[in-house]
Structure formats: C-alpha cells, structure tokens
C-alpha cells in the first residue's frame, strides 16, 4: 500500500472478495525524507501514514517492510547504470520485476500468503493472461509485462475492471481519506523531480559535444551525455537555430566519447526494433507473427510483425515510431477488444533502425549498451 488511492481500494476489494488481507507498505529508502512528498509520489513518511490510515479504515493489519537495500541495488543502481550506458530505463517496471513481484512476493509466500495484491490497472483473465485495464488512460499492463508467468500466478489486480474516476468515487464511499490524493508521477526516488541533477550528482559532469548527426558539425556542448534521452527536444541549450529553423532532437547518445547527436524529427523515425531476450507471459510463439506493440508506458500502440529469433525479438512496425530509446521495454500484445488485449511477451529494447536508412545508427546504440 503506497499511501495512494489505488492500492487502498485494491486492498478493500480484496477484503470484500473474502481474502485474509494484510497491508504492507514498502520502505524504499533508509532515509524516507529524501524521497518525494505525498502530493506527488509515494514512499515518504506521509505516504506511509496515509497507507496506515487506509488500512485502519479497511480494518486490516498493516506493516512496513524494509526493502530499502533491495530497492537501491535493483532499481536505483540499475537506473544509474542504464543512463551511464546511454539508455533510458523505466524504474517502475524494474521495481515491479525485482521488488514488488519478486522480493515482496517471495517473502510473502514464505510467510504464508498466497498472492500480492496491487492497485495496478490491469486485468488477469481466467486464462491467466495479463490483459489491458478497462480504462485505457490508466492501463498499466505495460509496466507489468516484465512479470514471469509464475509471478503473475501469484498476483491480483482488483482495479483492472474499473475506470480511475470510479475508483476515486469508491474510495470516497469507503471513507478512505486518500480518495482525492493526486496521482503519483515522476520517479519516486528523485526528491525534487530533477532527474538531470540526480544523475549528475552520481555520474558527475563531463563536457562533451552536441553534434549535428547529418553534417558532423559541433553545435554546442553539454556537461554529461547521461543527462539526455533519445527523442528529447528541450534542454539542449543550443544557441543557434538549425539552418532550416526547425527544432532539433536528440537522436543518439554515445557514452564512450560523451557525444550527443541531434537532428530533425524525421531522423527519429524508426520502424524496426530489436530487443534482448523476451519474457513470455502468453503462449510462446516461434517465428513470425502479427501483433501490436507498445514502446513506452502510456505510449502509442503500433501494429507490427514480430519475429522471435536469435534469443531476441525483432519488431517491424507497420507505421513509424519517433524517439524510441534503448532501455525501454517493447511489450507485445495480442489484440482482443472484448476481453482486453493480452500481453504475449516483453523485451528490453536494444536497438532501433531508422525508417529509411540502413542499420548504422542502431549500431551506435548497441555499442553504447556495451559500455
């Protein structure tokens, strides 16, 4: 129970469904003051209090579990390492994979519990498949797609069939004070929301060039390639506008020589994506198949042809995508408008291929990933 409205209602629903429920709040920092405050995130002392109050109202026992060390090792350190390698990680997904449905679930099962219940918006069908939530705006199946079938089998998502605004109304009706608490955004372990400053603190500053990808001309400088994300437009600090007067975007990041390449939006157009070894949640498929893929949390959905080969996935998108960063997950869905699209598998994006060009810029990213 994060202290937010979703996990509170999920807990209440699990109780109502007849389960013997215990509320658990995860302490993710040895020093909770350093994490985001209650209005926006989770994981602070105030959030812990909100969670405890919700548990009181629901009438279930409540404990704080100290996961600070595991969280730091598996999520925060991974976050640094990925940025240092020129990739863009999704820490929420990593937290689900390593903490909530791994460390917490393992401990819970050992202590005699059957499942972890969370307030994620996703559905689990009777067929055991992970499906999109009813509320398309809130669907979180993307950040859950990293779970293994075994993890999924011990998970419950009671909110998947309800739109968020109804969950808030329900919270109000249940007398839960968190009913109107704002949704959490941003990254919980970056207290002031300044990701760039957070990375700079740890990874340091090192001046490097911002280069025009097409001409090789040095356009400006930056103080650390790890502060950029592919597709980023703002914060480049370029003094001169591009020759054509159009905005420039980060196209690639090369940590080895601390180089950031920029160019026009068209250069972000990609239509082929290669991933690392996938995790299969649905029935494993060999060879080539038609499906839909999603490339970031709450991102657009692309019809695609996916080939599972050589220990990874290759997705050919039927329409181009823009600004796809290595390190994000590619989640493959089997469309099902009736019961909700089901997750077939997911894989971490290793490389992308520009829509018209050859494989050149992808190799840059691959090289970066090896750092």
């Amino acid at each position: 129970m994060s202290g937010g409205v979703d996990s509170a209602v999920a807990a209440a629903r699990a109780v109502e469904a007849g389960h013997d429920v215990t509320g658990v709040h995860l302490a993710l920092s040895k020093n909770p003051q350093t994490y985001r405050t209650g209005a926006r995130g989770c994981c602070t002392v105030e959030d812990s209090r909100d969670a405890r109050r919700a548990a009181d109202v629901i009438g279930i026992p409540f404990y704080v579990w100290d996961m600070a060390e595991r969280f730091h090792e598996d999520v925060v350190e991974d976050f640094y390492a990925e940025y240092a390698a020129g990739r863009t990680p999704n820490p929420c997904l990593r937290c689900n994979e390593k903490i909530k449905f791994a460390a917490v679930l393992d401990r819970a099962v050992a202590l005699g519990f059957d499942a972890v219940v969370t307030g994620h918006y996703a559905r689990k069908g009777e067929d055991g498949l992970l499906r999109r939530a009813v509320d398309p705006g809130k669907d979180q199946s993307y950040v859950l797609a990293v779970l293994t079938p075994a993890q999924l089998a011990h998970s419950m998502f009671p909110l998947g069939d309800t739109p968020k605004d109804e969950v808030r109304i329900e919270a109000e009706e249940r007398g839960l004070a968190v009913a109107r608490k704002p949704d959490s955004h941003d990254i919980c372990f970056i207290a002031d929301g300044d990701t760039s400053g957070f990375l700079k603190n740890r990874l340091g500053s090192r001046t490097g060039d911002i280069v025009d990808a097409a001409t090789g001309e040095v356009l400006g400088s930056h103080d650390g390639a790890h502060q950029f994300t592919v597709g980023q437009r703002h914060g480049l600090g370029l003094k001169r506008p591009a020759a054509d007067g159009r905005p420039r975007y980060v196209l690639s990041i090369t940590p080895v020589d601390n180089r950031v390449e920029v160019g026009p939006r068209e250069s972000l157009r990609i239509d082929r994506i290669r991933t690392a070894a996938p995790v299969w949640l649905g029935p494993e498929r060999a060879g080539r198949f038609e499906c839909e893929v999603q490339l970031r949390a709450h991102g657009e959905v692309y019809p695609a042809t996916v080939t599972a080969e050589d220990g990874g996935l290759t997705a050919r998108l039927h329409k181009p995508a823009y600004g796809v960063a290595a390190g994000q997950a590619l989640v493959v869905y089997d469309p099902d408008r009736e019961r909700g699209d089901s997750v077939l598998c997911s894989g971490t994006i290793d490389a992308t291929t520009p829509a018209e060009h050859s494989y050149a810029s992808a190799s840059v990213i691959e090289g970066a990933a090896g750092v």
């Binding site: 215990t22 302490a27 026992p61 404990y63 100290d66 401990r107 050992a110 202590l111 005699g112």
Partner: protein, 385 residues
C-alpha cells in the same frame, strides 16, 4: 489475544483509572488561590508525598512532567547546561540508553558541541563501571553529567547505577538515571542510591500515558527546558495535570507496594516462557543477563528469522510482542542495544522482546508457546531479506 508487550505500555491499574476519573470530574487549577484551586493543589501535593514515600524521595524532590521522555530531556540537557563551564563540556552516557536519553545526548553533541563519552556494555548488556572509574580518575573535572539507565528497556539487564553514583559523588558530578523500566518492577530507593536525578513514567507501571516525573535532589542545579508559570520548582512550567498526577501516584504507590510479590510471580511466569521458547526453538538465543534482569523481560534472537516477520506472524496468531523499542519500529533498524552487546547485525535484526506485566497470566505464555513454532518456521523460510 496474548499481550506480551508490557514494556511498551501496560494497562492502567483499576485503582489508577478510578483515581483519574474521580479527579478529572473536579474543577480547579492547582495554581489558583481560591477553594477549587486549593483542592486541586491538595491532590497534587498528596500525590507528590505518596510518590516520594514510595521511592525514598522527599516530596519536594518530585518534579512532575508530561512524560518520561520529557523528564529525561530535562535531566540530561538541564544538568549539562547548569554545569557547563570553561573546560567542562563532557557528557557521559552508555551505549544502551533509550532514545529519550540517547537522542538528547546526541543533540547536545551535534548542536552544542558537547563532548560525549559512551560507556560500553558487556555481552550481557551490563555497563562497564571500570571504564567510568578510569575516566573519572583522569577527566572528572571535564564532566558535566553522567546518565545511565536503571534497567534496559530491550534486554532487561539491571545496571550498576548506584555504583556509578557512588563513584561520581566524590567528584561532585551529578548522575541521572532513566528508571522508566525499573520503578515498580525492581526495588528503587532514591535516598539510598546517590543518584541526583531519576526519571519515571506513568504508563509503564499502570498509570496514565502523558504522565511522568523527575526525582531531583533539592541542591542539584538544573536549567529548565520549559519556561512559563514555573509551577514545578521553577524547573518545569505548565499547568499541572491534576487527574494524571493523582492516577500516577496511585499507580506508583500500588506498583511499589506490591512489587516484591508481583516480581516473584512474574519471574516464575517469565522463566516458564523462556523454558517453553527454548523447548519450541532450541536454537533461540536468550539475550541479556540471566540473573540481574527485570522480572517481566524475556528477550531472544531467533537465528535466520527476521524479527519483523516473526512479529507479524505472531500478531496474526493473536500474540503481541516487540522487536525492540517501539520508537525504532516502522523502518527496521538493528537494535543498538544488541549491537553494543556484541551481536552481529543479523542477530540484532532477528530479535524479539516479550514483556510481562500485572495482567499477564499463564494463558498468555501458553498462547505464545502454541503460536511460536509455526511462526519461526515460516519466518525462517522467508529468511533475512
């Protein structure tokens, strides 16, 4: 439900509750001059006399406070401030104090540049008096105050406070003792011990939460924390809590009067609890001094289990206990007391405290013995995460 956490708080004694309710119906500020005020004042002064009599203190040596924590802060900071001088800025404390003392000392160190010496303990959790003796031989002039708890709140070890006070007396160094866990549970005689200040708390001995007192010698100088009406010897300000004080006196008088018989009863029950825990979990380590300890305290480490997991499983089975002092719960910190006793971090995190009190019966021990084996088995399979 089996409540085995009396060191956290113990139920109010019926006679203390009666005294509270009876007095709470009465009107009057004990500082007012009219009839109602005089009646309230009479209750306060009678209570002061009862507490003094029970603990070997003169009535004028009893300073009422709002909690044990307040009394500890008043003593540690107040004595240090009053004695601080050029060349004298050192507090002597122990490695096993409750946070109410430890954090007050740490604050003086951090914010007021006080020097701090922490006396070590042996593996039974008993403060090493020799270290103090050596310190006094060389640096007595530099010491403002010595504070050492009477009995430890986690492992129950009774401390050589009066030896410490006897060592300090010739040097004129005031000694404070946090006797929150001791009063009513082991003999405490303020006159016989040469300590200058002693903290007690209402809710640890059958009185109400929000009441406490500092026993303080008349001639010991102390700088107040709270300034205001000067109600308590100009040392502590704040309108006196007449019903709380009446109930506190009732509880202290009762707990001290029945202490010997009750201690024997509890020690028998506690020894049975210890035997049955060892029977159920042979590898459990019994912490603290097996002899010189509080009669209602049993403290164990369960190797391979996390204290928090055990607590949760026992709670679900209707048995309530603690992992350490309640203040450090929430986010688990290995107990500083066990670490000071030489335990490793894993042992310190695998500990549970069972504390018995006036309402404890054999049924509570039975409930623990019944629930413990399964809890330990599950906690062990969850391991130390």
């Amino acid at each position: 439900m089996a409540y085995l956490d009396h060191a956290a708080t113990t139920p109010m004694l019926p006679q203390a509750l009666d005294a509270y309710v009876r007095t709470a119906r009465e009107l009057g500020n004990a500082s007012s001059l009219h009839a109602s005020g005089r009646a309230a004042r009479r209750t306060v002064e009678e209570s002061r006399e009862r507490i003094g009599e029970a603990l070997g203190a003169k009535p004028s040596e009893v300073v009422f406070t709002g909690s044990g924590t307040e009394a500890d802060n008043l003593a540690v900071k107040g004595l240090h401030w009053a004695r601080r001088a050029s060349g004298r800025n050192r507090l002597v404390t122990t490695a096993i104090e409750h946070h109410a003392v430890a954090d007050a000392v740490a604050w003086l160190g951090d914010h007021e540049k006080a020097d701090v010496t922490e006396l070590p303990v042996d593996k039974l959790g008993r403060v090493d008096v020799e270290v103090l003796a050596e310190l006094l031989d060389e640096h007595a002039d530099a010491i403002t105050v010595i504070t050492c708890m009477w009995a430890n709140n986690e492992v129950g070890t009774i401390q050589p406070v009066c030896e410490i006070a006897a060592l300090a007396a010739p040097h004129g160094i005031p000694v404070h003792t946090d006797a929150v866990q001791a009063v009513g549970h082991t003999p405490v005689d303020f006159a016989a011990c040469e300590a200058d200040a002693l903290t007690l708390s209402g809710h640890k001995l059958g009185g109400p939460t929000g009441t406490g007192a500092l026993l303080l010698r008349r001639d010991t100088k102390l700088t107040p924390l709270l300034h205001g009406g000067g109600q308590e010897r100009e040392i502590r300000s704040g309108t006196l809590d007449v019903p709380g004080i009446a109930a506190l006196a009732e509880a202290v008088a009762h707990a001290v009067r029945t202490q010997e018989a009750e201690s024997q009863r509890l020690a028998v029950l506690r020894d049975e609890l210890v035997a049955r825990v060892r029977e159920a979990v042979p590898e459990a380590v019994y912490n603290g001094d097996p002899e010189h300890r509080l009669p209602g305290n049993a403290h164990f480490s369960f190797p391979g289990c996390e204290g928090d997991a055990l607590l949760m499983l026992l709670d679900a089975a209707g048995v309530e206990c603690a992992t350490g002092s309640a203040c450090s719960a929430g986010i688990a910190q290995p107990s500083h007391v066990l670490l000071a006793m030489g335990a490793g971090e894993d042992d310190a995190r695998s500990s549970l405290r069972f504390t018995l009190g006036w309402s404890t019966t054999k049924a509570d021990v039975d409930a623990l013995a019944a629930a413990l084996p399964e809890a330990v088995e599950r906690a062990r399979s969850a391991g130390l995460s």
